[in-house]
């Protein structure tokens, strides 16, 4: 026996004894071996109390050897911060690992919080619903909040990496125990491609510790042979330390892969999404505890777990134990335990009749057998010392022991089956829920299906609680729920299993009730005179095991969170000193220079005085072609389309079918049957899809097709008094003078260097303005070329904020800013155009509703600030004491050209209120403004058309 590891068996186990692994627990150093879990190493070192319970701060020890662990949830640091609530039974022992108890003060040995245990009667289930009402909950909440929480967030930055991987397979086998291995072998032999996924660090499941042979083979032999064959099969992939956590629709499953985790800054966690043709669930079964007094004392452990510690990790979970069981299978486990060096003092079986063979086998090993006995209460303060038993003849007896193995029988691990939508059935002979049917393409095999034993070799007695104080019998260890809590819940009529769950919080902790749900509903059944099958279960939902949030996010973080496009001339803008912002999925220059306000002001002035160069590449561009193109667009726009001549552009408004303004922009007739639709940048994709939806779904009879072409073009918008001159200097440019190329014209051509171009004369700034498109790979080059020509004439780069300001001076609409989800075409001054349109269009009928025709609707207006400051988002108000909003300010600009602050807004009866002075409310400050025409600059459009 190892002096450093007093509970380590001298030999056996699957650990690597040649490798010592040092770790610390609550600051003290210990050693273990490669192949250990944190839990097995703690046990090997004789550490019994590993934590304090959530609510009552009772000492708790390792209870299981797998993912069902309710107690061993510790803070663990392996180089990525102290991660709370880490399952010690799954955590591989890694050199330098630091583990901590989380829920105790000042130490796990002595915890002030135990006061809650001593006053336990005051804190039954749902106590908080009955008290803390006066004066209000907040008075108490801060204190309660501090006591809640199982651990604390890790400090410092997260140095792990996370990623997603997608995969496909014919068969996904979940669980690599004997059942899963067999299923994988069968599928592989059929030539199917198989993904075999096991959450443990090695494959084998109960083969790793259960000495029972399989088909005449020793477990180890079977395992080795199976793995050998599977590894040799080209169509088989085996994943270890990978837990299937979610089973979604259409056989899509998720896997949390930790095989490259726990390695400090070289850690990678992978979140897999598997699309499986068929799924085989071979997830095994979970042993269930039994209820008796102090059944939560450290030293009490699931029988199968004790066997696993003994055989797999060569760790004795006790030197002299008692066993409390209710089924034949557990006798096998306990006898195997004895054979593995754990001295079993006595077996307490609650059943009255047991096969003589079993008793004989136990007694032959010197085990004292109490048949038909009732476990009453475990004794001990920080670890179990004895078990008080009522024997079948009515006496009580005290069994001295330093550990208790419990087995309330097995419960199939049906979580994933249920997540898949599968329905369960209560199997009386096995006293558990087994899979019944499921609509998804899956099979359940092995212990997960309930096939852990033939009923005649099992003879389980349904679980119940002991005839002792029910406040000392634990059901849910994590949430500190006792049998008495369940009794209270029934007494108060929370008798639906779902109500009981929520009232007592049974099964709602991080373990999701893997060792408590079945006991809870057995108790409920007993208390309400029902069968467990009638009580039913609560719903299993993803995640099967808690999954790191970072893994679910993958590397979709930071710049990868939401993909943003760069402009074709991005680098050029950088050189010009652009400050970028994100607009509708594009990184665009907001302004150039250091100071937002000053830059915008200056850019506006330059545009008005000389010329500006603005990057309009993100504008949507959709070609619409076909003999019915005009008819199609006429349905999509409020405006008339047919009358537009080739080579000309027209401003248009698009509505949704409810009459609400969706987008605006210019459409161009390239040729009789060929149009170019320009959309706003933010709506480019949306409008392209909108047109396609109508074309395909509503108007398939129309002979028309659409191509979204925006990505092909870089758009340089040059506007201002000098614009024409600058662009005209480009060799190969079409004639831009006002007669040959008036406002709202379009032309295309080829520059002398063979670069094709399109040019349209449209204006969002109110200046004479040209939008020049060149293939985007020439964008940067042409921006520079235009700048070279224009700079001497005062051309300056203009950011999007200046453009948005310039258009305010013109009163041009910015859809989505100056309109909201209720603004219709009439509200933005399209009444005349609507009235003139002779044919139907999308949204037309809605505009005829009385509500849409009301004149007191909020209408687009212009205003000039008379007094005070006004920001976008301020409201027009009436009323003195009780204010009423009559609309709001949508856009504001302190215009250097006009020398005043102007803006646009939506105002009730706005069209009828020109000249009126209104109050403007912002953050409790009032200002005044005068309603004016929403065109402040060059109202006759002479500059734009000139």
């Amino acid at each position: 026996m190892n002096a450093g590891q007093p509970f380590r068996r001298a030999d056996g186990g699957r650990i690597d004894r040649s490798t010592l692994v040092m770790f610390t627990f609550n600051g003290r150093s210990y050693e273990g071996h490669a192949g250990d879990t944190l839990a097995s190493a703690l046990l090997a070192n004789g550490i019994r109390t590993v934590t304090r319970s959530f609510k009552f701060h009772r000492p708790r020890g390792i209870f299981s050897a797998g993912f069902e662990e309710p107690n061993g949830l510790l803070g663990v640091d392996v180089g990525s911060g102290m991660i709370p609530i880490t399952c010690a039974t799954l955590m591989p022992l890694i050199a330098g690992l630091r583990a901590e108890t989380q829920n105790s003060f000042p130490s796990v040995k002595f915890d002030f919080g135990r006061i809650f245990d001593y006053t336990r009667l005051l804190w039954p289930a749902g106590f908080y619903n009955k008290i803390f009402k006066w004066p209000n909950w907040r008075t108490f909440e801060w204190a309660i909040r501090r006591t809640a929480g199982l651990g604390a967030l890790p400090k410092g930055a997260d140095n792990s990496r996370y990623r997603h991987l997608n995969t496909h397979c014919d068969v996904l086998v979940v669980g690599a125990g004997s059942a899963g291995l067999n299923a994988a072998l069968e599928a592989a032999r059929r030539g199917e491609d198989v993904l075999l996924v096991e959450q443990d660090i090695e494959a084998g499941g109960s083969l790793l510790f259960d000495p029972t042979g399989i088909k005449g083979q020793a477990p180890g032999e079977f395992l080795d042979a199976a793995l050998k064959e599977l590894r040799a099969a080209p169509s088989v992939r085996i994943m270890l330390q990978s837990t299937v956590v979610g089973y979604y629709d259409h056989n899509v499953l998720t896997i949390h892969d930790r095989s490259a985790a726990y390695r400090g800054d070289a850690s990678v966690e992978t979140y897999w999404k598997v699309r499986a043709g068929r799924v085989v669930l071979a997830t095994g079964a979970i042993e269930q505890p039994l209820m008796f007094g102090n059944n939560d004392l450290p030293g009490i452990m699931l029988a199968g777990a004790m066997l696993q510690y003994a055989n797999r990790y060569a760790v004795l979970a006790g030197r002299r134990i008692a066993a409390v069981i209710n089924n034949d299978l557990a006798w096998r486990t306990v006898i195997a335990l004895q054979d593995s060096g754990v001295e079993v003092a006595s077996i307490v079986d609650v059943r009255g009749k047991i096969s003589a063979d079993l008793v004989a086998a136990a007694e032959a090993r010197g085990i004292d057998c109490h048949v038909g006995a009732t476990p009453l209460k475990a004794r001990g303060s920080r670890t179990v010392r004895a078990l008080r038993v009522a024997t079948s003849d009515g006496k009580t007896e005290l069994v001295q022991c330093d550990g208790i193995a419990v087995s309330g029988g097995l419960n199939p691990t049906v979580h994933l089956f249920s997540q898949a939508g599968g329905k369960l059935r209560y199997d009386e002979s096995r006293a558990c829920f087994v899979p019944d049917h499921c609509a998804q393409a899956l099979d359940v095999v092995g212990a997960a299906k309930g096939d852990f034993v033939m009923p005649e070799n099992y003879r389980i007695l349904p679980r119940t609680f002991a005839p002792v104080d029910t406040t000392t019998q634990w059901v849910d260890y994590v949430h500190d729920v006792t049998v008495s809590d369940l009794e209270l819940s029934v007494r108060e009529n929370f008798v639906s299993v779902e109500h009981m769950k929520r009232y007592t919080t049974t099964g709602m902790a991080v373990d999701q009730g893997k060792t408590s749900n079945l006991n809870a509903l057995s108790v409920l059944a007993r208390l309400t005179d029902q069968l467990p099958g009638q009580v039913g279960t609560t719903t299993f939902r993803p995640q099967f095991m808690p999954v790191t949030l970072g893994a679910v996010a993958g590397n979709r973080r930071g710049e990868f969170y939401a993909p943003a496009r760069q402009l074709p001339a991005h680098n050029w803008h950088v050189q010009q000193g652009a400050v970028f912002d994100e607009y509708g999925g594009w990184k665009r220059p907001a302004f150039y220079g250091a100071d937002r306000r000053a830059s915008i002001r200056e850019e506006v002035l330059k545009m008005r005085q000389a010329a500006g160069l603005f990057d309009g590449s993100p504008l949507g561009k959709i070609e619409v072609k076909g003999p019915d193109a005009a008819e199609f667009l006429s349905m999509m726009y409020v405006n008339t389309v047919h009358t537009l001549e080739a080579g000309k552009a027209r401003y248009g408004l698009m509505l949704n079918e409810n009459g609400v303004v969706m987008d605006d922009g210019v459409f161009v007739r390239l040729a009789g049957d060929h149009f170019l639709v320009n959309t706003t940048s933010g709506a480019a994709t949306r409008i392209a899809m909108w047109l396609e939806e109508w074309r395909q779904c509503e108007f398939p009879r129309l002979q028309v097709i659409t191509n979204e072409v925006a990505a092909q073009w870089a758009v340089a918008t040059v506007a201002g008094p000098q614009a024409r001159g600058i662009l005209q200097s480009l060799p190969g440019m079409v004639d831009l003078d006002n007669e040959s190329f008036p406002h709202m014209s379009f032309a295309s051509g080829c520059f002398e260097d063979d670069v094709p171009f399109r040019i349209q004369r449209v204006s969002y700034s109110g200046e004479c303005s040209f939008e020049l498109s060149v293939p985007s790979n020439h964008g940067e080059e042409y921006f520079q070329r235009i700048m070279d020509i224009g700079e001497p004439n005062g051309l300056a780069p203009i950011g999007i904020e200046a453009i948005l300001a310039l258009r305010i001076e013109k009163g041009f609409l910015h859809v989505g800013v100056d309109t909201d989800g209720m603004t219709n075409a009439l509200d933005v001054g399209f009444g005349g155009i609507v009235a003139n349109k002779k044919t139907d269009f999308v949204g037309a009928r809605s505009l005829q509703r009385a509500e849409d025709q009301r004149t007191d609707r909020r209408r687009l207006i212009g205003f000039e600030v008379e007094n005070g400051t006004v920001l976008a988002g301020a409201h027009f108000v009436s009323g003195k004491r009780i204010r009423r909003s009559e609309g709001f300010v949508t856009s504001v600009f302190e215009s250097p050209v006009l020398g005043k602050t102007i803006g646009l807004g939506l105002l009730e009866r706005g069209f009828d209120r020109k000249g009126e002075t209104i109050e403007v409310f912002d953050d409790d400050r009032l200002a005044t403004a005068r309603v004016v025409n929403p065109c402040f600059y060059d109202p006759d459009g002479e500059r734009m058309r000139g």
Binding site: N166, F560, R565, H674
Partner: protein, 177 residues
């Protein structure tokens, strides 16, 4: 031009090619396929120009010999009487060639399409979502794929591929411990 190389995957820019996006009326698709010898569903075929299937009514034509104007002319000639629109799309897309044993896994990090050799053999073509953005992906050879995305995403997708393949390398090195 090699943009990036990790241990398991090399990413190269596909340069000097013309792309034309062709759309036709859905009803005329069969005729179009015949007249232009275009790729069938989910296929990429041909020498030069090659055609990549985008959908039942649309193809990319790619060439390293001909200009966009030439390809468009050709379409117009051969598709006389068929409603179609062929536009130069060369500048709209940026293409990468991904090669090496990690190429398939790199794609699998960002897309749910089954890119395994048997299911997506050379000559296959699909449009899908790669790392959230639209992409056209062609299987060129074993362990070699071509990926086309909108050119505005050049920086994004390169950074993403770089980061993702680095994580993959980290994961596989970690496993070798």
């Amino acid at each position: 031009m090699v943009e990036q190389a990790s241990r398991d995957v090399t990413i190269e820019l596909i340069e000097d090619r013309t792309i034309v996006m062709l759309k036709v009326a859905l009803g005329a698709a069969d005729k179009t396929v015949r007249r232009l010898a275009l790729a069938g569903p989910s296929q990429a075929v041909g020498g030069d120009p090659r055609s990549l299937w985008r959908g039942p009514d649309s193809w990319f034509l790619m060439s390293s010999k001909y200009s966009g104007a030439v390809l468009i002319k050709d379409c117009e000639r051969k598709l006389d009487g068929i409603l179609h629109n062929a536009v130069d799309y060369s500048a709209a897309l940026i293409g990468f060639s991904l090669s090496g044993p990690g190429a398939e896994e790199l794609l699998a990090s960002g897309s749910g399409v089954d890119f395994r050799f048997e299911r997506f053999p050379p000559g296959s073509c699909c449009r899908t979502q790669l790392a959230q953005i639209g992409a056209t992906i062609v299987a060129a050879a074993k362990d070699r794929f071509e990926v086309f995305v909108e050119s505005g995403f050049r920086r994004y997708i390169l950074d993403w591929m770089n980061d993702t393949s680095n994580i993959a390398v980290l994961a596989s090195t970690a496993q070798e411990h």
